[in-house]
Amino acid sequence: MTHTSIRPHTLRIEPTRGWVALRLGEVVAYRELLYFLVWRDLKVRYKQTILGVAWAVLQPLLTMLVFALFFGRLARVPSDGVPYPLFAYTALVPWTFFATGLTLASNSLVGSANLITKVYFPRLTIPLATVLAGLVDFALAFPVLFGLMWWNGVAPTAQVVWLPVFIALAFATALGVGLWLSALNVEFRDVRHVVPFLTQLWMFATPIAYPSSLLPEKWRTLYALNPMVGVVEGFRWALLGTATRPGPMIVVSGAAALALLIGGAFFFRRMERTFADVV
């Protein structure tokens, strides 16, 4: 049999207390389940919709149009020398990934109550699969971004090789926050009311409609404690070659995202033992 890789030794079930190990190895052992959960999320997400996957592109695109009209044209918000629509869309692509991932992940455990109470698997796979599924939408929104760049005559610079780092940063942030919120949501259903509000506030605390160069230099490092600041600035720097050197901001954002993710994972594991009893 090929099952031995999942559970090679005697398994001991006993009460646990306090903080426990993450057991990421187990998540790796259940990677096929992870794959199927992602696949299910993708299959189901756009079933019975007329526009289907077009939604993945429409969301950031329509937001961009609204921003371009109100902030770009009417309010004349500066955009680091880049045409405003491109400036906003470059930020909205990772932002939409983050906001959707965060929202779906925070409901993921409660939405999977029927699985949690009926079968065992590492619970981390549930929010993880949700955020991973969001990557596909993210990838779909990308060609439009390149199209916009081409339309505006902006060629990517060599810095584009850093893009995966910023994608990873966005992923870590979405997953980190998703882990905290999903675990809290099991016990406190208030979370689902907090999430829309939280994403809205978070959006204003992130330089999406405006450039972070509006802030005085000395505040920017503190500002970058919001990991999405590093993500958005990184995206603009890597793709559009905006003048702001985001170096220190990205280090701060990276550290903040890592803290959020690791803290979230341990918190999740700590709460995990009562999921099936409470959900």
Binding site: M1, I13, P15, V119, R189, H193
Partner: protein, 463 residues
């Protein structure tokens, strides 16, 4: 069975110690639950009402904390299972069977004690775990298989077998939400039945589908057992336990009271049933739907003999009093209150509601109502039934509803049990019968007409 742990000496133990290695070792296992510690918030409105009431309470009377009620769903349970054993776990509702299975399948954590497991555990606590209505049958086979712990290659290999077993070949590329409930159940069980873990933990999933499919499922379980897998099997179906299991455990209010051969344990279980008191189901934790202007708070079954005296258990032909308590929190005008009895496959069998008899219930906030139904001559066959509650105005609003509020066990009537074979189906008609045998000589034997209800006659006719 290791006889040294936790059993009084007078209990009979498994007859022969097995040579096979112990693959499950459960020692001093306990699970404590807390009741009434927190109310779960479902909607913002509920949350606000709850918190407003909480503030009002704390302003009015200082801090009143709801008492934390704890109980042990499972208490100091110890046993070993050898490789290849098929162990039946028997007990009344609430005896801790499901809790035990949930701990063994790692769904919930024990409060005390340990379990050591050797080998891969597969658990089937429900039919259709992981099924998604919007996906096709084919997609669901893969998804559900993966969730139950099958590898992709394994599912690929067994795919045809699974579909064939479920008899849904023609519909495999149809979304399962268009399946009939029977097709859905068959496909779901078929996926589960092809799971091949070293230790299989099964919770009564056999009670699905029609009689023919149940038979097929039992057959499959038997095959699994003969292939040397270790199986733990929770059931109310004594016939299945006796025929499939090599050993059985009897649980009673969280304690392991008997560990012996299935026949002994089944007999003891039947004996405990007759002594069971009528029980009230608290509906605070049940899944309610509807506006919530009033809520069902409890439900009680009181089986009665025909002369109106209370009896210990519900048998075919008994009267059944179903007593509900309702607490009102917002004005309710002319509501219909009703109960529904479903069979284990979810088919609606019995409906009784106040509107049928021209009665509607109106309540003011703070009112408490007891709405009782006396069902006469309830001829449900022995088995497990589900009882749902509903209050509302037809096609206008649901005030409160609980799809499955409680289970109703109908036991074979000990006085009338002449023939032990249980026939499938739900309804036991009262009938008379006659047998006429024509011999070759042409003379006719006198017709034997027996005027006795139910099972006795059924027994006669089946010979």
């Amino acid at each position: 069975m290791s006889s040294d742990v936790g059993f009084p000496a007078d209990l009979s133990l498994a007859p022969t110690p097995h040579e096979a290695p112990r693959v499950i070792r459960v020692s001093h296992l306990g699970k404590q639950y807390q009741l009434g510690t927190r109310a779960r918030y479902r909607t913002l409105r509920e949350a606000l009402v709850e918190s407003a009431m909480g503030i009002a309470r704390s302003v009015g009377r200082g801090r009143t904390r709801r008492a934390v009620e704890r109980f042990w769903a499972l208490d100091d349970v110890s046993f070993d299972v050898a490789q290849g054993d098929v162990v039946g776990i028997i007990g009344r509702n609430g005896s801790g069977k499901s809790t035990l299975l949930k701990i063994l399948s790692r769904i919930v954590e024990p409060t005390r004690g340990t379990v050591d497991l050797e080998g891969r555990v597969g658990s089937l606590l429900e039919v259709g775990t992981g099924f998604h209505p919007d996906l096709t049958g084919r997609e669901n086979v893969f998804l559900s298989g993966a969730i139950l712990g099958m590898r992709r290659t394994e599912i690929d290999e067994k795919f045809d077998e699974i579909v064939e077993f479920a008899e849904v070949e023609r519909f495999i590329d149809t979304q399962v939400k268009h399946y009939s409930s029977g097709m859905y159940m068959r496909l779901a069980f078929s996926v589960a039945a092809h799971l091949e873990p070293d230790i299989l933990v099964v919770d009564e999933v056999l009670a699905v589908g029609d009689a023919a499919f149940q038979k097929k499922c039992l057959g499959k379980m038997g095959t699994v057992a003969r292939h040397g897998r270790t199986v733990l099997f929770v059931s109310h179906n004594m016939g299945a336990v006796v025929s499939l299991c090599s050993r059985a455990l009897l649980l009673q209010s969280g304690h392991l009271v008997l560990d012996s051969d299935p026949i002994t344990v089944a007999a003891r279980y039947q004996a405990t049933l007759t002594a069971a008191p009528t029980s009230t189901t608290d509906l605070a934790g049940a899944e309610h739907y509807g506006s919530g202007k009033a809520r069902f708070v409890s439900l009680q079954f009181v089986p009665e003999r025909r002369d109106g005296t209370t009896r210990e258990m519900m048998c075919p032909g008994s009267r059944l009093r179903v007593e509900t308590r309702i607490v009102c929190s917002a004005p309710v005008d002319s509501a219909n209150v009703g109960i529904t009895i479903y069979d284990a496959s979810g088919y609606r069998l019995v409906d009784a509601n106040t509107a049928m008899q021209g009665r509607f219930v109106s309540m003011k906030p703070g009112d408490e109502a007891c709405v009782d139904f006396a069902l006469d001559d309830v001829r449900l066959k022995p088995g497990t039934y589900l009882v749902g509650l509903w209050m509302g105005r037809s096609n206008v609003e649901d005030i409160d509803g609980i799809l499955y509020a409680a289970t109703l066990e109908v036991e074979p009537d000990p006085q009338q049990l002449q023939h032990s074979e249980q026939f499938p189906g739900s309804y036991l008609c009262a009938f008379k019968h006659s047998v006429v045998i024509s011999t070759q000589a042409g003379d006719v034997a006198p017709p034997g007409v027996r005027d006795e209800p139910g099972q006795r006659s059924a027994a006669g006719a089946s010979r």
